[in-house]
């Protein structure tokens, strides 16, 4: 042990002459902190710069939960376009079990969960979803989730276009 210590000490001698810096004191640190460059910026006047702050934001609260008993996932609110009465228990329950990404959850539950691709204009409510497509959902006992390029998307109901009357 002693021999090792001595050999180690001799080996380390060569690089041991680095300058030792003075440790910063609280006073020195306070002087550095006083040179804050942000004091040069123009400050907002009282009540002028209203900034929205992310207080208590929650993606879970802003989503629809889907679950299969042991796994769950979330999709944006208004992404579920068709919900059969018999499958209502699979939607919007307290999340328990393992969270899966949407694509994995869909793969595991294709027996009762399907998607319907919508365009961005359809999602925004600028364009109506064709009636034949919505009629098809009613024939299947499956939950239909709107997707855009495979990602779940909320769908706003398009304003009905006033019917033209022929005089």
């Amino acid at each position: 042990m002693k021999t090792t210590l001595i050999l180690c000490a001799l080996a380390c001698n060569a690089f041991a002459a680095l300058p030792v810096l003075v440790r910063v004191t609280p006073k020195t640190l306070a002087d550095l902190q006083a040179r804050d460059p942000m004091i040069r910026l123009v400050k907002p006047e009282e009540g002028e710069a209203k900034v929205a702050r992310p207080v208590n934001e929650s993606i879970i609260k802003e989503s629809t939960i889907l679950h299969d008993g042991s796994h769950w996932t979330l999709v944006p609110n208004d992404a579920v376009m068709f919900l059969p009465e018999s499958l209502k228990a699979r939607v919007n329950v307290r999340p328990v079990g393992t969270l899966l990404p949407w694509s994995d959850f869909l793969r595991k539950n294709r027996t009762w969960l399907v998607t319907s691709e919508v365009s961005f204009d359809e999602a925004a409510g600028n364009q109506e979803i064709p009636a034949e497509r919505t009629a098809q959902w009613a024939g299947e006992e499956k939950i239909v989730v709107a997707v855009h390029r495979q990602g779940p998307i909320s769908v706003r109901v398009a304003k009905p276009i006033p019917a033209l009357t022929q005089r």
Binding site: A9, V20, L21, M38, E48, L100, W102, G151, I153
Partner: protein, 334 residues
């Protein structure tokens, strides 16, 4: 830009999010009211985003625990065709670290790039300026992670307008993070750039950056008092090392005489911290008597080598050793 943004957000996940938070969602909210979960996985390709609306699109990066409904808003960014665009980068003297890392007494630089601001008389402030905010937050005891959204939900420590396009560089001589002992401040500084609200946007953040702030290490040498004269066996030494900086190496050094600065010394004991987190520890030293056998005046210095140089962790200890008496000659009797 539309393709780049999800890539940047995923980059943030890889760097900051703890591995146990397993599922990430990139949620895109258009001002038109459409909400879309972009189908992305780290390493996969990215679909191009729908066209941005004039009012802007908010991208949020969420991370959720797989077994508990724990959620974390990791980052968010607002982009739009008419909004000013901003980039923010923080540079420190420490090239290591998953996020920019500095020490409370060390300088760092915040570089901001702005474009899309308009100049002219009579224009609203939202068109001519962006707002820079500086948020400070200390780590809770025993933890070295904070929720960015929680930090930024508080009132900022400082703020100010930037009213010109191009590059703005702010040089901070030290962190302003506070603590009862200011040298022990430990936490994060967040810088956030907002567009100013024109009444139509719920969120305004367009760029942000984080710098992690570490405390200054300190220490103590126990077992020998300053000025003490030792005539018998040299006692064992106890070392106390507090708040060692990530990727640092600390040494107990012995110097002949009272000078230690610039003088070659002998490294008695080294302690390597080869990790991304700090550490406090205690060490026990034996065998110092072999290095002081010739007697005289010696000085012990406890130092730490970091990216910022070699610094004392506590006051050096000078002591005196009386030369050892020659050992009695033993005669072997038959």
């Amino acid at each position: 830009m539309k393709t780049l943004l999800p890539l940047l957000l995923i980059g943030v996940v890889r760097a900051d999010v703890q591995p146990e938070l397993g599922v990430t969602f990139i949620r895109q909210q258009q001002a038109a009211g459409v909400v879309w979960d972009m189908p992305v996985k780290p390493g996969d390709g990215f679909p191009s985003a729908p066209d941005l609306t004039r009012s802007g699109t908010l991208y949020q990066l969420w991370s959720l625990g797989t077994t508990q409904a724990e959620e974390s808003l990791v980052d968010q960014k607002l982009v739009g065709s008419y909004l000013p665009a901003a980039e923010l980068r923080i540079k420190t003297l420490d090239p290591q670290g998953r996020v920019p890392r500095t020490r409370v007494d060390q300088p760092f630089t915040v570089e901001i790039g702005i474009n899309g601001l308009i100049s002219g008389a009579g224009l609203p402030r939202a068109a001519t300026s962006v707002l820079l905010e500086r948020h400070l937050a200390s780590y809770p005891s025993g933890d070295a992670a904070l929720e960015p959204s929680q930090v930024r939900a508080n009132d900022p420590q400082g703020c100010g307008y930037i009213s010109s396009n191009g590059r703005t560089v702010l040089r901070f001589p030290a962190s302003s993070l506070a603590a009862p002992d200011p040298t022990k401040a430990f936490g994060e500084e967040h810088f956030v750039i907002h567009t100013l609200s024109d009444g139509s946007l719920p969120q305004t953040q367009i760029a942000s950056g984080i710098v992690q702030v570490w405390p200054i290490a300190s220490g103590a040498i126990h077992g020998i008092c300053p000025g003490e004269t030792l005539s018998g066996p040299i006692p064992d030494i106890g070392l106390e090392l507090k708040d060692l900086y990530p990727r640092s190496e600390s040494h107990l050094m012995l110097f002949k005489g009272t000078q230690f600065n610039g003088t070659p010394g002998t490294i008695v004991k080294s302690h390597l911290l080869d990790g991304e987190t700090g550490e406090s520890t205690r060490l026990h030293i034996t065998g110092l008597g072999d290095l002081t056998a010739t007697g005289g005046t010696y000085t012990l210095a406890l130092v730490s080598d970091t990216v910022y140089g070699r610094e004392l962790l506590c006051d050096a200890v000078t002591f005196h050793v009386s030369p050892a008496a020659p050992e009695p000659c033993l005669t072997k009797h038959p």
